[in-house]
Symmetry: C2
Subunit: 287 residues, 2 copies
C-alpha cells in the first residue's frame, strides 16, 4: 500500500520523539509541510536546523491551523490539554494522535474524540512508540528511530475502526510495527516492561555509595542507564500509572526476595535455578 | 617505564578474560610465549586460532612448567585449587595472579603465597579486572579489553610491596589502571557495584511476564542485559560473597521501598526528588 501523503502535519513537542517523527516524515516525503510547535525557542530552532520541521511556532492554536494530522509529543501530564487545544484549531476532520508513555488517563480524558461524530469531526486515537531512550531533545532525533520498533495503538471500544486503521497506517509509514490493545492493557504491560525497570534503575543508581563509583563496571552502567532519563517526564509517567506500577513492583520485589532467601539460606541449587531463569528470559528478549 | 617482558606466561582458563589477556600480551610483545590451559578443547583451539595463545594444553601441571607468570582466569570456585597446582609446577620464584570477581575467600585460601619466603619462592597477589560483560568465551576476546579499565589489586597486609608492584605493572602493561585495596574492601564495594546489580537484573528479567515480551523497549533491554551472563559463574560469585551481597541488597531494597512509599502515597515531590537523585548518580558514572 502506498502511504498516505498529508498536506500538513503539526508536531506539538519537538524533543527526541517529535523531532524524529518530523525527520522521518520529511525524508520519506509524507507531508507537504511539517510545523513544529513547542515552548522552547532553542529546541524549535534545533528542530528546524536539523531538518525535522519546515516551520516553527510557540503558539499551538496558530501552529495547528490547517493541519490534517497533529501528533502530540509533550510530557504525559500535558497531552490532554494539548489535544483539546489542537482539536479546536486544526482542520475539520483532522486526525490527532500522541506519543505518551501512559495511556488510560489520557485516552479516557479525550473520549469525545474517540467516537462517531466527534466535535468538528476531529478524531483522536492514542499511541505509544516504544522507541525512546535515556536521551532527550531534538538534537538526538533520528529519521529511522521507529524502523522495526513497536508502536502500541490504544483505541477505546468506541473508536471507529477507520480511525484506528489511519493511525496504524501513519506509524507504519514511518517504518514501525503496530500493536493494538486497550489503554488499560497497555498500562499494565508497560508498568512491567518499562516503568518498573526505570524505577529499579533509579533506585539502584541512587543506592550505590558514591565512594564506590570508581569501581563501577559495565554491568552497573547498563543496569542503571535509563536512570539518566528526565526525572520530571518520568515523575509524570509514574503519577499517571500508579496502580499498575505498584502492582508490577510487588511482583519484582517478590522475585527479589526469593533470590534473597536462597542466598541467605545458602541454597546454591535454588540460586542457580533463579539465575538460569533470568538468563533464559533475557536471552529471549534479544539484543 | 618500559614494561617487563616475560619469558613465558601461562593462562589457566581461556574465556573472555583469559583470551583477552593472551591477545594483549602477544600484540604488545610482552611475552616470549603464551600457553593457554583449559578443560575444553574447543575453547583452547579457538584461543589459538584467534592468536590469543601460542600453545595449548588441558594439563595444568604441564602447561605452567617454565612459566614465570601465571594468570588464573577460571570461575571463582576453582581459583584456589588452580593457583595451588600452578605454584607446584611453575618456575621457581614465579608470580601468580588471578581474575576472580570475589577476593576475600580466594586470597585468604592462598595466604602462604602472600608473604616473605613463600613455598618455592612462588608469589600470589589477587586481582580483579573490571572488564567483563554478559558475553563469554575466547571468541569474544579483545586485545584492548583492559585499556582504560580498572583492575583492582587485592594484597594482604603480609604481601611484600615488590610483589604488589609487579602485579600492578603487569596489568598496567596491558593498558589498565590499577587500584589497590584489601580483599574485604573489594568484596564490599563490588557487592554494591556489580553483584547486586546482577541480582537485580536477573530478578527483573525473571519477573517480567512472558506475554509482555513483545512490548519490551530499550530500557528493559539495558536494565536486564547482564542477566544473560553465565548462571553458574554468577552462582559461584554470589556463594563466595554472600554476606556483603545480602547487606548491599538490603540497602537497595530500602531505597526501592522509599520509591514505593512515595508512589503509594502519591507524594509527587518526593518521587521527583528520588528520580533526580538516581539521575545525578547515573550521570556521574558516565557512559
Amino acid at each position: 500500500m502506498r502511504p498516505m501523503k498529508r498536506d500538513m502535519v503539526a508536531i506539538i513537542g519537538v524533543g527526541l520523539i517529535g523531532g524524529s517523527i518530523g525527520l522521518a516524515l520529511r525524508r520519506r516525503q509524507l507531508a507537504g509541510r511539517v510545523v513544529g510547535i513547542g515552548r522552547s525557542r532553542d529546541s524549535l530552532e534545533t528542530a528546524r536546523r536539523i531538518g525535522a520541521v519546515d516551520e516553527i511556532t510557540t503558539d499551538v492554536a496558530k501552529g495547528v491551523a490547517g493541519a490534517d494530522l497533529v501528533v502530540v509529543c509533550t510530557p504525559v501530564g500535558r497531552i490532554v490539554e494539548h489535544v483539546r487545544l489542537a482539536a479546536e484549531h486544526c482542520r475539520e476532520g483532522a486526525l490527532i494522535t500522541d506519543a505518551g508513555s501512559t495511556k488510560a488517563q489520557i485516552v479516557r480524558g479525550l473520549r469525545r474524540f474517540s467516537q462517531k461524530n466527534p466535535p468538528r469531526g476531529v478524531r483522536f486515537v492514542g499511541s505509544h512508540p516504544l522507541a525512546g531512550s535515556e536521551r532527550s531533545g531534538p538534537a538526538e532525533a533520528q529519521a529511522d528511530l521507529f524502523v522495526d520498533h513497536v508502536v502500541v495503538v490504544t483505541p477505546l471500544r468506541s473508536t471507529p475502526a477507520g480511525d484506528i486503521a489511519e493511525v496504524r497506517e501513519f506509524w507504519e509509514s514511518l517504518g514501525a510495527r503496530t500493536v493494538t490493545m486497550s489503554p488499560s492493557q497497555h498500562d499494565r504491560a508497560l508498568a512491567a516492561t518499562s516503568h518498573v525497570p526505570h524505577l529499579v534503575a533509579a533506585a539502584l543508581s541512587a543506592s550505590v555509595p558514591e565512594a564506590y563509583r570508581e569501581l563501577a563496571a559495565g554491568g552497573l552502567r547498563d543496569t542503571t542507564r535509563i536512570a539518566a532519563g528526565d526525572p520530571e517526564l518520568w515523575r509524570q509517567i509514574f503519577s499517571t500509572n500508579r496502580r499498575d506500577v505498584l502492582r508490577s513492583l510487588q511482583r519484582f520485589q517478590k522475585t527479589l526476595r526469593t533470590f534473597q532467601q536462597a542466598l541467605r539460606s545458602d541454597q546454591d541449587g535454588r540460586l542457580a535455578k533463579l539465575l538460569a531463569k533470568g538468563k533464559k528470559h533475557r536471552d529471549a528478549l534479544g539484543n
